[in-house]
Symmetry: none
Subunit: 413 residues, 2 copies
Amino acid sequence: MTAEIICVGTEILLGNIVNTNAAYLSERLAALGISVFFETTVGDNPERLEQVVHQGLERSDILILSGGLGPTKDDLTKEIAARACGQKLKEDKEAMRRLKEYFSSTRLPMTENNLKQAMVPENCTVLYNENGTAPGMVIHEERGKEVILLPGPPSELIPMFHHQVEPILQKLRPGVLFSKVIKIDCMGESSVETEILDLIEKQSNPTVAPYAKLGEVHLRVTANADTMEEAKELVKPMVMELRRRFGNKIYTEEEDITLEEVLVESLAEKKYTIAAAESCTGGMFTGRLVNVPGASDVLNESFITYSNEAKMKYLGVKEETLNTVGAVSEETAVQMAEGAAKAADADVGVGITGLAGPGGATEDKKPGLVYIGVCVHGKTKVKKYQLKGDRQKVRQVTVSRAMTMVRLALCEE
Amino acid sequence: MTAEIICVGTEILLGNIVNTNAAYLSERLAALGISVFFETTVGDNPERLEQVVHQGLERSDILILSGGLGPTKDDLTKEIAARACGQKLKEDKEAMRRLKEYFSSTRLPMTENNLKQAMVPENCTVLYNENGTAPGMVIHEERGKEVILLPGPPSELIPMFHHQVEPILQKLRPGVLFSKVIKIDCMGESSVETEILDLIEKQSNPTVAPYAKLGEVHLRVTANADTMEEAKELVKPMVMELRRRFGNKIYTEEEDITLEEVLVESLAEKKYTIAAAESCTGGMFTGRLVNVPGASDVLNESFITYSNEAKMKYLGVKEETLNTVGAVSEETAVQMAEGAAKAADADVGVGITGLAGPGGATEDKKPGLVYIGVCVHGKTKVKKYQLKGDRQKVRQVTVSRAMTMVRLALCEE
């Protein structure tokens, strides 16, 4: 069973708003095991909207349209969808009752165009709107296709979809879908793919697909079956195989868990505290750690030591080191990590120093050169990275790499 | 001239990521005076992608495709776009040189599938990627249509579009379009809109359109004319009017200038240094300041004082204050700002303390409550904010608000 999402609204095409409805609907439909092959955004233009609806009816089983159900002249979604399904509009008594009630309770003036919101196609299920005036509807097309119309504002669309549309879709679809994600934080997308090329080539059910994220690669394993239990059973051997291949390069198998959450959890489990000394990242490492509610269990303080003086003053980095090998060096990263742990009396110290660019390059130090030191109870590891990208990307990836180094250091302890 | 945006990626159809590229491209195309009538998202499926590309070639002058240029097997955008334009692929020497250089400098293993990234259609302009490995390209189709392929990651797509594609599009379009942006950092979108309702209602040439950004509102004034000079003349009175209405609520009128850049520049002009003491933001304020190359002129060090102990130890916040009014209070924010300035011997001190949520609420302190103190040469101002949104959004907006407070404090000095 395939669905197609059609978002109606000139404001999306002008870039005035980001289309979060499409992302929400896509994610929910995937969870319901309904494949979405196309998402289209079209403006408040009757000819182009009609063209898109006709095309959708030809190639998909379910159309989900959002937006254009309001009372104004350019809200035409319902009229066009009804016409495309060969249906006339009729008044829905309950919709009319609710509309009148709304206007009498708010004492807003009810105009002639408000009344058109109570008109619905002849053969449809009306979705009454608990959070606004425009009712949604599921139009039953004669070939058995379903055309679902939803109001545009997310505060109306989300509860209507979740409470009223999902139960309808669940009944339409045979079987269930289950998917699991495997998140890898220390390999590039193409290296990951090379490792699983054989699995991708022979995949059918379950499938496995890599997604590149900033500093990470996610692998999604998805199976289709008659029951949830069967689907989960199908996913299992593939996940086991991926675990065997990637080992502790996998930082989580949970959909909602981020690298910083894994880090905070690992530290909290060991009752460890962490302190960072950040130069080129300027606080981004600690800032990301604080994304996690409860970071206060593992973090008391960190140091943003941008100048050489600050590195000496708070972390005890040696002046000689700075004068000879310089601030961007293995030695400085080590002294920063150890100095941060000592000054904060923390179990784990992190030292980050690098050239984020674009300026500051020398003969042997190019932008993107980063040294990260990680010290756990006096045992220090240091790594050199030559990262690609602009200043922002270098700094963001640096934060990910530092988190991975801490994660692995804790694993290996 | 009409353009159509085609985003390629199963991860968008699965709702794994929100399609911010479409919003970015739409906004930029609108600014260039190019009408976007359709946006389509399609998965990594060759038949469906080809169908969408063919349809786009029939109905639009310019196709902009994002995503699917990577090295993996399901990255097929280039192959399909070339076929739809009737072109074969050939190796681009410069792309190959860059690819090899990248892999030798990063010491990552270069696999066979990486090499396919250097293959480009016969008749195209190659857009070399300064922030990743996949080059973009403008395929010149025989009927005079242009098919523009861009990498999916926004950190690669945005600079490539801005620096390389926009100049090409400007030449394609008859007449010229000039637009100017006015960035406001201390008002919400609806307040800004209310202030300019009359201007929006009677607009024709130039137009003015508000865009809500995180913690900011941008107003774009756009004029259409035969020559650049005329277009600039048309924009002028509207910009003057907006300046009159918003005054120093405008932090810049430059497209590429960010709030943190304005801040670093204002500090550098006065030869001031700044130091922050960050609690709930955990380093994000300073991290954002360090976005600006040359931040070292104004920043030596900052403090991430997450625990009460750290606030006392590094900033001299009084134990009595923490025990009576608590860490999230006006008094603590003031002492943090003053303490940071003193400890770092800086001209400007910033203190940020708040409840980012979701936990930690009390009877009179709800998540989203933030106090920001700003101290310039011993003169301290403090403000209370009750921000909306999740933990992340509260912290990001807090950083913006703190930057605005420093900016205004420097203006008023």
